[in-house]
Symmetry: C2
């Protein structure tokens, strides 16, 4: 498909942020986005680079009432050699297709998705920050646009990719997080939408997240919907535990997001001959391990933070400290290796890195 | 709050639908809507009647990514005396406030909500259809509009009320529905969003709903998320069973929508001294009752259909017929009474009907 370019004239472009140490996350957006439309019977049409600006939606657009929506999160960044890189974009494209299937939505063709993304990145190369740890966050989003108030699968969709510079996640080095173990509220149940990257899971997380933030916690650890014992995931990350030297994380059984950083961490552990298992682990097992001095490390994995070490869990009013209160060896090694591969400082034996330009 | 009126000139108004027997549902919208904005620190501002038209949203608007949204469904209609009426609008306003609390959203002030709705109805009185059983469907909707890609509670919102004429639900009389009992997919879990009228629950229902429609069923009956045994609700309705003359429906324990028609049906049964109980009922109990010849009736309750008799349930490949395959006495009596009260044909002992003009 040909991509039409509706570019702003040079004098209409926004100034780039001056301070790359104050970018924050998800507040600054580049001058253009990639977009295309889906119409029942026509398929994907109108691939284009458009100026970033308001989307006009009918007040009855299905996304505004029934949440038919899926998204992705990726990053582009400057490598050591001055080239622009992506990390495992094909994995995000595949996951979005899986999310689409769960939400009864037509997946964007993978070649057009990647081509549109590449074209946008070439157009907005000037928005990719250069300070250490910074990157250009990429948000592919797809929304149901048909105007209808009956609950139905939409006939029409808008797919767009927006980008914006984001700051380093750990400008002052790793800061172990405090996690609240949630027993009352639930993110996703078996048979629900937990494995899809879709609005509903995030809407379900807001109330418990607000409560945890007010009480000084960084994130909420979700337990399974039924017994409230099995560990699922942490807010925007998958969760790993290192117990007796074994790395353990929840299996992909439908209620948790199949994280791409999660997969990268598992792959690297296997590559290093570190025992790693994807199995159900309960909060009781974690508490017992801590009591026995066997809870070496705990960390989250996700696109934004890559690896996020956990300092403590709070469960039923009791604080469960992790390891020695410092970032563990495996957490550090995974962070260094994944970011090293991303930035081209280390070899890329799995072919994870894709050069944009 | 003063409501600003931005009305279209008479020559810009759409023609009204000519055939009131072909209105369908949720496809035709009146010329104007009521809207107001919420800004953190300012509260609700800019109450207005605007021409119906596209809403301009930032591509990063939180509703488009994380589903922070709540809505309601109501109807306005002509009564027997030629007046325009609403049915229990204060109950919808209260439910929307409860939905807002669950989604961390500021509830619209109830007086402004009702005033805005009344002003819109007076403006669009010409859109209320007159054919028997038709009405003006009312959709209050509230969406998170802040532009931010970090998962957060929005600082800004848009609240709007849109209206449109809808057809009679049973133009040819009651048609008992075929219901598919869903064992794999889940609508809502304890600790989830089930009792809020919010996008996430509808997004979760799409896949199973599509599958059921393809196989010829009208609706999906949801079971509880954990044991898949306890009956929750049917798609867009609450579910009632009449067993041995007792009317039973699921209790409001957090996973089902607290239906206003559900409450009206319970109130009327009590008023008539028909035994009615809000308690957990399992699909096994329904099957056993049917086998013993004690399953007299089953029906859904909701704003659109009012009362929707069920002809059969299909569970694990077996069809469970209900009663004698005809609409039961209690289903019929509730339908006649509620619609009779709505249309002003019967006395209104509970003060459910509100005159608009």
């Amino acid at each position: 498909m040909e991509i039409k370019k509706n570019l702003l004239p040079a004098d209409k472009l926004q100034p780039k942020p001056k301070d790359e140490n104050a970018l924050g996350f998800g507040r600054i957006f580049a001058d253009h986005l990639f977009a295309m439309d889906y119409e029942e019977g026509k398929g994907w049409i109108n691939a284009r680079i458009d100026p970033y600006g308001p989307i006009a939606l009918d007040p009855a657009a299905l996304v505004l009432h029934y949440g038919q929506e899926v998204f992705e999160g990726m990053k582009a960044y400057y490598g050591k050699d001055g080239g622009v890189y992506l990390f495992r974009p094909e994995a995000n494209i595949k996951r979005m297709a899986n999310s689409c299937a769960r939400l009864c939505m037509p997946a964007p063709d993978k070649d057009i998705f990647l081509e549109g993304l590449m074209e946008l990145l070439r157009t907005e190369k000037g928005w990719i920050p250069k300070a250490p740890g910074t990157s250009l966050y990429i948000r592919p989003n797809m929304i149901a646009t048909e105007a209808a108030l009956g609950v139905k699968v939409s006939d029409n969709y808008l797919f767009y990719i927006m980008v914006g510079p984001v700051g380093a996640y750990y400008p002052e080095g790793f800061a172990p997080t405090k996690i609240y173990v949630e027993e009352k509220y639930v993110r996703a149940a078996p048979g629900g939408l937990g494995e899809a990257k879709t609005a509903a899971n995030y809407a379900a997380s807001l109330f418990a997240g607000e409560k945890a933030h007010e009480e000084g916690y960084t994130q909420v650890l979700w337990l399974d919907a039924c017994d409230k014992k099995t560990i699922e995931e942490v807010g925007t990350s998958n969760m790993f535990f290192v117990i007796d030297g074994e790395v353990t994380t929840a299996p992909l059984d439908g209620t948790i997001l199949p994280g791409i950083t999660r997969d990268s961490a598992i792959t690297l552990c296997k590559h290093w001959n570190i025992p790693v298992s994807e199995r159900k682990i309960t909060i009781d097992e974690v508490i017992k391990a801590q009591e026995d001095g066997r809870l070496d490390e705990a960390f989250g994995s996700g696109t934004a933070a890559v690896i996020s070490p956990v300092g403590s869990f709070t469960y039923r009013g009791q604080e469960i400290p992790v390891g020695k209160g410092e970032t563990g060896d495996i957490s550090r090694r995974l962070y260094d290796e994944i970011t090293g591969i991303q930035w081209g400082e280390r070899p890329d034996p799995f072919g994870w890195v894709t050069k944009v330009c």
